[in-house]
C-alpha cells in the first residue's frame, strides 16, 4: 500500500471509530472521506483478497442472495469482506473494505463479496475487477432512478463486458432480459432457473419484459413462477429460455421454509432454506450456482445454505397508497416475540394486522399462539392504535389478545385477508404505517392480494 492509500485508510478508519462513538452506523461516510483522499483506494484494497471478488447485482434479491453466498463461504471456512449492510454504492463498498483493512493497509480476506447497485455496476466492475458476477433479475420498480429497463440492462452489460475470460457470469435464465446478457459476457456463462411445475404461479402475472430484445417480437410465455420469470420463447427469432446448468427440480414447501432438490453440473444437491417464498428459492439457487462455480463442494453448499437465517424481526417494506407497509412472517413463538419487540421500537403509534392461518404449511395446531408474549404488546397498549386480526383463525388471535390484556375496543376481526388489508390501510390513514404479521400461507395470500393491487414486485426489494 502506498502512502496516499495508507493515509486514506487511517483517516477512513478514524472516521469509522468516530461515527461509532457518535452512534452513527458508518456504512458509507468513512468510505466517502477516504475516497476523497485517495480516489484509487477501493482499487488498491480490492486486489488484496486472495481469491478475488464476487459481484452481485440485479433489481431484486441482491442482499439476500449475497447473504446466502456469505453463509456458504463461511461454511467453507473462507474469510470474506462483504458489504452486508446493503450499502451498495462505491462509497459503501469502500467503507466495507476499509472496515476489514488493517492500519498497515493489509487485508485478511480470501474473497470480496459485493452487492452492487445496478447503476454502479460499470464503475464497481472497473475498481473491483471481479472474477464472478451474479445477475438476479430485472424489474421496472426503479423507473424513476434509471429510466428504462434497457438502461439498467446497459449498466449490467457494461459490467459483464469487463469480466475476465477465465471468469464466471451467473445469470438467471428465467428472466429473458438477464438471459439476453449471455452474448456480452467474455466469461463463461452459467444459467440457473426453476424446473418445478408446483411452483408455477396460477395468477395472471404482470410482465415487465414483454418483447424479445433481439428482434422486438412479443415473447410467448409458458409456465411462469413470479412476474415475468419463467419459461418463454420468441416466435420471431427463436430466442428461448436457455438450458439450465443449475435447476430446482423439486420443492417441498413447509412452514419453516423450503426443501429444494437442485440439479447441478456435479450432480444432485438437496438443500433446505429457512425463508419462505419463490423469490427466496431464486436467491438460494443463485447462491448455489455462485459458490459451486467458485469450487465449493455440494456438501458445504448445502450446509452453508441451511445455516442461513434472516435476522429475526427483519421486515419486508413496501409502499401502498401512501401508506408504509411492513410485513414480517410469524411462525413460532421465538420469531413472533422478536417481531413484537421490533414492532414496539420507535415512538409512533402502531397500526397492526395479524393474520393467522392453520393450513398444513402453517402448522394445523395454533396452540403456539399461547406461548407468544402478547402480554408485552398489551402492556405497551397506549402505543398501539388498533390490532386487526385476520385469516382462518382470526378469532383465536383475538381471544389471545383479549386474554393478554389488550383492550377489546381496539380489536377487530376480519377473516378475509383482502378486506382486512383494505380496512388496515384505511384505518392507518394517509401517510400512516401498517404492520402486517402473517403466518406462512397468510403471507402468500397477502402477497397475492398486494400483487393484484400492483405493488407486488416491491416485495423483492431489500
Amino acid at each position: 500500500m502506498d502512502l496516499q492509500g495508507l493515509v486514506a485508510i487511517w483517516v477512513g478508519k478514524v472516521t469509522i471509530l468516530a461515527s461509532r462513538l457518535l452512534g452513527k452506523g458508518g456504512s458509507t461516510f468513512p468510505g466517502r472521506v477516504a475516497r476523497r483522499i485517495d480516489p484509487d483506494l477501493l482499487r488498491k484494497l480490492a486486489h488484496l483478497p486472495k481469491q478475488g471478488n464476487v459481484m452481485v447485482s440485479g433489481t431484486n434479491g441482491k442482499t439476500t442472495t449475497a447473504r446466502m453466498i456469505s453463509s456458504i463461504l463461511e461454511a467453507a471456512g473462507l474469510k470474506v469482506v462483504h458489504n452486508r449492510a446493503g450499502a451498495n454504492l462505491l462509497v459503501g463498498i469502500t467503507a466495507a473494505f476499509l472496515a476489514k483493512a488493517s492500519w498497515w493497509g493489509s487485508l485478511e480476506a480470501d474473497l470480496g463479496l459485493v452487492e452492487v447497485d445496478e447503476a454502479t455496476v460499470p464503475a464497481a466492475a472497473r475498481e473491483l475487477a471481479p472474477r464472478l458476477a451474479v445477475v438476479t433479475n430485472f424489474f421496472r420498480d426503479q423507473l424513476d432512478r434509471y429510466g428504462e429497463l434497457e438502461h439498467t440492462f446497459s449498466f449490467i452489460r457494461e459490467g459483464l463486458e469487463l469480466l475476465p475470460a477465465e471468469g464466471n457470469a451467473i445469470l438467471n435464465a428465467d428472466d429473458p432480459l438477464v438471459a439476453s446478457l449471455v452474448e456480452f459476457s467474455p466469461a463463461q456463462v452459467t444459467f440457473y432457473g426453476l424446473e418445478d411445475a408446483s411452483l408455477a404461479s396460477q395468477e395472471e402475472e404482470t410482465r415487465d419484459v414483454r418483447f424479445c430484445r433481439h428482434c422486438g417480437e412479443r415473447l410467448d410465455y409458458g409456465q411462469t413462477y413470479y412476474a415475468h420469470l419463467g419459461w418463454y420463447r420468441c416466435p420471431g427469432c427463436g430466442f428461448r429460455r436457455p438450458d439450465l446448468d443449475y435447476a430446482v427440480r423439486q420443492t417441498i414447501r413447509g412452514s419453516r421454509g423450503s426443501r429444494l432438490e437442485i440439479l447441478t453440473p456435479r450432480g444432485e444437491l438437496e438443500a433446505e432454506i429457512s425463508v419462505p417464498g419463490v423469490y427466496n428459492i431464486y436467491n438460494a439457487l443463485a447462491a448455489v450456482a455462485t459458490t459451486m462455480s467458485l469450487g465449493i463442494s455440494r456438501e458445504v453448499v448445502a450446509k452453508g445454505l441451511q445455516a442461513f437465517v434472516t435476522s429475526f424481526g427483519r421486515m419486508e417494506h413496501l409502499l401502498i397508497r401512501n401508506r408504509e407497509v411492513f410485513l414480517a412472517l410469524v411462525k413460532n413463538p421465538t420469531g413472533f416475540n422478536a417481531v413484537i419487540k421490533t414492532l414496539l421500537e420507535g415512538e409512533e403509534r402502531k397500526n397492526v394486522l395479524i393474520a393467522i392461518n392453520d393450513k398444513y404449511a402453517d402448522g394445523t395446531d395454533i396452540s403456539w399462539l399461547w406461548d407468544v408474549d402478547f402480554e408485552r404488546l398489551a402492556t405497551a397498549e397506549e402505543r398501539v392504535n388498533f390490532i386487526l386480526t385476520s385469516g382462518i383463525r382470526a378469532e383465536d388471535m383475538a381471544v389471545r389478545l383479549k386474554y393478554a390484556g389488550f383492550p377489546v375496543e381496539k380489536l377487530a376481526m376480519q377473516n378475509d385477508l383482502g378486506s382486512a388489508l383494505e380496512e388496515g390501510l384505511t384505518r392507518a390513514g394517509e401517510g400512516g404505517t401498517l404492520y402486517i404479521l402473517p403466518t406462512y400461507t397468510a403471507l402468500l395470500e397477502i402477497r397475492e392480494v398486494i400483487n393484484k393491487l400492483g405493488y407486488g414486485r416491491r416485495f423483492w426489494q431489500e
Partner: protein
C-alpha cells in the same frame, strides 16, 4: 361477591409446557380477575414437597415423553399421595394430555410393559401405532342445565380407556377422542378433569373455565354464582373452531393434507 380468593398450583411449569398449555393458566387467572376473584399462583416442580389440599386449583400441562418419565418418578415418590388426597377432598384439577395419562392407572408401552400411574383417575392408556392429530369438538354434559360443546386440538398416540369410576368429559362430535373407538374424550372424577384438548383448552371454552373456577371456590365458599361476562369474542372463536374442525376432519378422512 367480594374477597374471593383462589390459590392456584401450576405443576411442573418448566417441564410440562407443550403446545401452549400455559394458555390455560392465563385464561383461568384472567377470568378470575374479571369475576372479581383474587388468584395466587404457585409453581411446583420436581422434588418439591407440598400439601396439595392447600390449593384450590391444580393445573398440569402436557409434556414430552422424556420429561414425563422424570415426572412419573417424582409423582410416585414425592407427590402422589398428597395429590390423590387433595382430589378426594374436592380440590379442582385440570390435567392435559400427558398429565391426563399420568393421572390414570397405568400406561402400557408398545412392548407390553405397564408403567404405573397415580391412580387418581380410573383410566388406563395403551401405546398406539397411529398418532391422533387434529381439531376436535365434543359435547359435554358436565354443565348444569344443558350440554355444552368443547373445542380443542388433540395430538396423541396413546389410547385411553375409561373405567367405571369416571365419566367422560365429553362425547366426540368431530375428532378421535380418548382412543378413536368408543367416542369418549377425557375423563372427570369429582372436581378433577383429564383431557386431550390443547388449543389451549380453556380460552375458547369459557364455560369450562368458569366451571373449574366455581369448583375451585366451592370447598371454601360453597356454591358461588359467578358474574356474567361478555364472551362474544370467545364464543366466536369457539364457533370458528367448530367450523374448522368439520372442514379439516373432512380432509383427514379423505386423506388430504
Amino acid at each position: 361477591m367480594s374477597d374471593l380468593k383462589i390459590s392456584v398450583c401450576h405443576l411442573y411449569p418448566d417441564l410440562m409446557n407443550l403446545y401452549g398449555d400455559r394458555g390455560n393458566i392465563i385464561a383461568f387467572t384472567r377470568r378470575c380477575q374479571w369475576h372479581g376473584i383474587e388468584t395466587k399462583i404457585q409453581s411446583v416442580t420436581l422434588n418439591q414437597v407440598v400439601d396439595f389440599a392447600e390449593f384450590d386449583f391444580i393445573f398440569m400441562g402436557g409434556g414430552q415423553d422424556r420429561e414425563q418419565q422424570a415426572i412419573c418418578y417424582d409423582f410416585q415418590q414425592v407427590k402422589g399421595t398428597s395429590l390423590a388426597e387433595a382430589v378426594e377432598a374436592g380440590v379442582a384439577l385440570l390435567g392435559i394430555c400427558g398429565a391426563y395419562q399420568l393421572l390414570g392407572r397405568y400406561y402400557k408401552t408398545g412392548e407390553g410393559e405397564e408403567l404405573p400411574g397415580l391412580q387418581i383417575l380410573d383410566v388406563w392408556t395403551e401405546a398406539g401405532d397411529r398418532r391422533m392429530i387434529g381439531n376436535i369438538v365434543e359435547e359435554s354434559d358436565l354443565f348444569p342445565g344443558r350440554a355444552k360443546t368443547l373445542v380443542g386440538f388433540e395430538n396423541h398416540s396413546g389410547r385411553t380407556f375409561l373405567g367405571p369410576k369416571v365419566r367422560p368429559l365429553g362425547r366426540v362430535l368431530v375428532g378421535y377422542g380418548n382412543n378413536g373407538e368408543d367416542g369418549t374424550e377425557g375423563a372427570a372424577y369429582r372436581h378433577a378433569i383429564g383431557t386431550y384438548l390443547h388449543g389451549s383448552a380453556l380460552p375458547k371454552n369459557p364455560w369450562l373455565t368458569d366451571l373449574l373456577i366455581a369448583w375451585s371456590l366451592e370447598r371454601r365458599y360453597g356454591a358461588v354464582t359467578l358474574s356474567e361476562l361478555d364472551d362474544e369474542i370467545e364464543e366466536r372463536a369457539h364457533q370458528a373452531a367448530q367450523r374448522r374442525a368439520q372442514e379439516t376432519w373432512g380432509k383427514i378422512k379423505a386423506g388430504v393434507k
